[in-house]
């Protein structure tokens, strides 16, 4: 492990520890609620990033994993199963689903894969809506004793887990293999890297953490329609958050998710009527002018500084660094 890696892990843990004390210093439940939403989005974006960013397969069916996770966890948990087992099964069922659909869907390339996965998620959405049309709300006794703190820590802990696993993955042989498959499938295969194996692993991990996020959502929500987490906007939100932050990087989806939720929320509170305009415009600006996501700001600033302090040659060299490539984004981690 390099010094940079250790620095990343330590700073992540410090950040998590800092966030862990939030419930003790604020009594504002809305802050806690907002943070829980942020955590769910971080998990969704980070987990989508495994298949969509690192392995480069634009999966538009992510909501299916999230939905399955929340469906399984919620039903088991409200039926009286222990929470931990409900959550674990809620994470495993999406993995099973990923294994089931993985091999056939990876036969599809590019847009076909994207639309095929979208169609699969839609099938699950409609079926769930038909099978479970009733709202799932907690019984009154549970509501009167509802406490936000354990939900907050659960969300924070799961998010931390997700981030650390993605970090580990990005540094592992498997992760590098995924990048290789993304960049040059045939070359990777000729070097003995099985494209299918790597993609499948990426999809399963992605499903696992999206399922966990679904479980957190199920545990957190006082009442919701069971089909709601299957709605395609969950996928699109995760995709947008990931791209805003920077795909294929560890830290990009985190930044993106935080930015996405906070900006939307603040805009919605401030400009009740106009907020979608402002948000849409902001989003397009980021897509067009920061194609590598917001973590690009960092490398741009750095380049600017480098150019100022040293002479042209080194700056010119920086220019060639492909900013979205995960192997090169390590500076952003610091």
């Amino acid at each position: 492990m390099s010094r940079r890696d250790i620095a990343f892990i330590i700073s992540t843990l410090i950040a998590a520890a800092a966030l862990a004390v939030v419930p003790t210093i604020t009594t504002k439940e809305s802050v806690i609620n907002l943070l829980v939403l942020v955590y769910i989005y971080v998990m969704m974006a980070s987990s989508w990033n495994i298949i969509g960013g690192i392995a480069g397969q634009v999966n538009l069916g992510h909501a299916a994993f999230f939905g399955l996770g929340s469906l399984v966890s919620r039903i088991l948990w409200t039926k009286g199963w222990p929470l931990s087992i409900s959550l674990i099964l809620g994470a495993l069922v999406p993995v099973a689903f990923a294994l089931l659909i993985g091999a056939p869907s990876f036969k599809l390339r590019g847009v076909y894969f994207a639309i095929g996965t979208l169609a699969m998620a839609q099938i699950l959405f409609i079926t769930t809506r038909n099978l479970f049309p009733m709202i799932s709300s907690l019984p009154t006794e549970a509501l009167s004793t509802y406490s936000l703190a354990p939900r907050y820590y659960m969300a924070l802990g799961m998010t931390l887990l997700t981030v650390l696993v993605v970090f580990w993955l990005s540094r592992s042989r498997w992760g590098l293999g995924m990048v290789a498959v993304r960049e040059e499938t045939s070359a990777a295969e000729s070097l003995g890297v099985s494209a299918l194996q790597h993609k499948l692993l990426a999809l399963c991990l992605s499903a696992l953490f999206a399922g966990l996020a679904g479980g957190v959502f199920a545990y957190y929500s006082a009442g919701y329609y069971l089909f709601f987490p299957f709605f395609p906007t969950w996928t699109f939100d995760a995709v947008m958050a990931t791209y805003i932050g920077g795909t294929g990087t560890v830290i990009g989806p985190i930044i993106g998710a935080v930015f996405y939720v906070l900006v939307k929320e603040i805009l919605a509170l401030r400009f009740v009527e106009l907020h979608p305009f402002i948000f849409g415009t902001l989003f397009i600006l980021v897509v067009l002018f920061l194609p590598g996501g917001m973590i690009q700001i960092w490398s741009r600033l750095r380049r600017l500084l480098v150019r100022k302090s040293t002479l042209a040659p080194s700056a010119a060299k920086e220019e060639q660094v492909p900013e979205t490539n995960m192997v090169h984004d390590r500076p952003a981690v610091e």
Binding site: G223, L285, R300
Partner: protein, 439 residues
């Protein structure tokens, strides 16, 4: 070109950051983004005005009573939400014009400050908006949004936060059966609607001419299932027979198979709770297939003027249970019509009245509670016995459902007319419906 892009990028980032900063800084400022200017007495920042006022009697009166709502102003329920918002705002305006609500504890009238957020018809957002109303504005009561599935998601939050919740525009009965203590809804509920359907038919149409063969198009949503089942249960008791019972998912474009089966079964009446696009599509396809039920009760879809705009004469003869209508003869309705006309240039839509009444219920409860303590207000609300409101007398049952009138209205010649109850009638029930191709 490169430099240009780079500059734009930096500009975008600066814009984003400054927006963030601008929004974070004045967090304590009065938020109420959609307050009509008339209602807030001052614009000065408030310091937590409504802390449990039970302790110190010498405590100064807060400058406003905080009430909040998260309403679907945009998205698929936007057309309902804007009606509800108008009702709330007009009611608050009227109350504040008279100085506000008298609160005994402070021995003075305190104006209401209403904070409304838009949840975009997204239940998750509605939940987070209610949470922030609870912690930021410290509201003493929630007003509901619109549509059964939005309420279903927000009601548990009120229960959890122990904030009294008064909502209209939902007939879902099941939600009242979960033992919620803080939920109140002065709006007709499914069991009433199901029985009234047949009662009204029997009262308005002589025996022998009644549309006794009934088709039900049941939407697969919780309210659709509930009311569909209740219709089925009650039909026989009143001498009706369900000859066709169809289920469909919301937003189906093609209803021809259902219509054909209902037609083949010889159905004379159609009962359904379609959303607006489905309702429009149903009627269009019925007219094309040439099936005109003699009686149609389509709750929800025809509840706003867009119905007749979209369908013209095809939209006539359809009946609704809207909870209220501006042609009803309650005192105060005339005044409301005038105000709504001034503000929006047309008479109030059907949800404006019930929404208005919601605010009346809350204000009345606060006055009787004599304090701004939420539990005291909740208890006062449960004991509500309003002799008169915008929707007539209001009392609540144990489960929080309102004992209120359930008027039936009907589209006639592009206008909505009240056809039930007789004392509020503006027209007779038009029956049987003229076949679509003769209109």
């Amino acid at each position: 070109m490169k430099a240009h892009i780079k500059f734009s990028a930096i500009a975008a980032v600066v814009l984003v950051l400054s927006l963030l900063l601008a929004n974070c800084a004045p967090a304590t400022e009065a938020p109420a983004p959609t307050q009509p200017p008339t209602q807030a007495p001052t614009q000065a920042p408030t310091q937590a005005p409504t802390q449990a006022p039970t302790q110190a009697p010498a405590k100064p009166a807060p400058e406003a009573i905080e009430i909040g709502a998260s309403i679907p102003l945009t998205g698929k329920y936007g057309s309902l939400g804007v009606q509800v918002k108008a009702g709330y705002e007009l009611a608050v305006q009227t109350i504040n014009a008279a100085g506000g609500v008298y609160v005994k504890e402070f021995d003075k009238k305190i104006p209401i400050r209403l904070t409304i957020y838009d949840d975009e018809s997204d239940p998750t957002k509605a939940v987070s908006k209610l949470e922030s109303l609870n912690t930021e504005q410290k509201v003493v009561a929630y007003l509901g949004g619109a549509a059964s599935d939005m309420h279903a998601a927000t009601v548990p939050i009120a229960e959890k936060n122990k904030v009294p919740y008064c909502g209209v525009s939902f007939a879902l009965w099941k939600i009242h059966q979960q033992g919620y203590k803080y939920l109140f809804s002065p709006f007709p509920k499914s069991p009433t609607q199901a029985e009234d359907t047949f009662k009204i038919l029997n009262a308005s149409i002589p025996e022998g001419q009644r549309p006794t063969k009934v088709a039900i198009f049941q939407e697969t949503t919780d309210w659709g299932i509930e009311l569909g089942g209740l219709w089925k249960e009650n039909a026989a008791k009143y001498g009706y027979e369900i000859v066709d019972y169809e289920t469909y998912a919301p937003r189906s474009e093609n209803f021809s198979d259902m219509i054909l089966r209902a037609k083949a079964a010889g159905a004379e009446a159609l009962l359904a709770v379609p959303n607006q696009p489905d309702g429009i599509a149903m009627v269009k396809q019925m007219s094309e297939i040439g099936w005109t039920p003699k009686f149609m009760l389509l709750i929800r879809a025809p509840e706003n003027p867009a119905w007749s705009e979209a369908l013209g004469p095809l939209g006539d003869f359809v009946t609704i249970f809207p909870g209220w209508h501006y042609k009803m003869k309650w005192p105060g309705v005339e005044e409301l019509v005038k105000k709504h006309q001034e503000a929006y240039g047309r008479p109030p839509d059907v949800l404006v009245g019930p929404a208005y009444a919601c605010v009346e219920v809350v204000a009345d409860a606060i006055q009787r509670a004599g304090t701004l303590d939420r539990d005291a207000i909740r208890d006062a609300m449960a004991a509500t016995d309003l002799p008169m409101s915008m929707i007539g007398p209001i009392k609540f049952r144990e489960d929080g459902t309102g004992i209120v009138l359930n008027p039936m209205v009907q589209w006639q010649k592009g206008q909505i007319e009240v056809v039930w109850p007789p004392e509020h009638k503006s027209a007779d029930l038009a029956y049987p419906a003229t076949p679509f191709d003769q209109r």
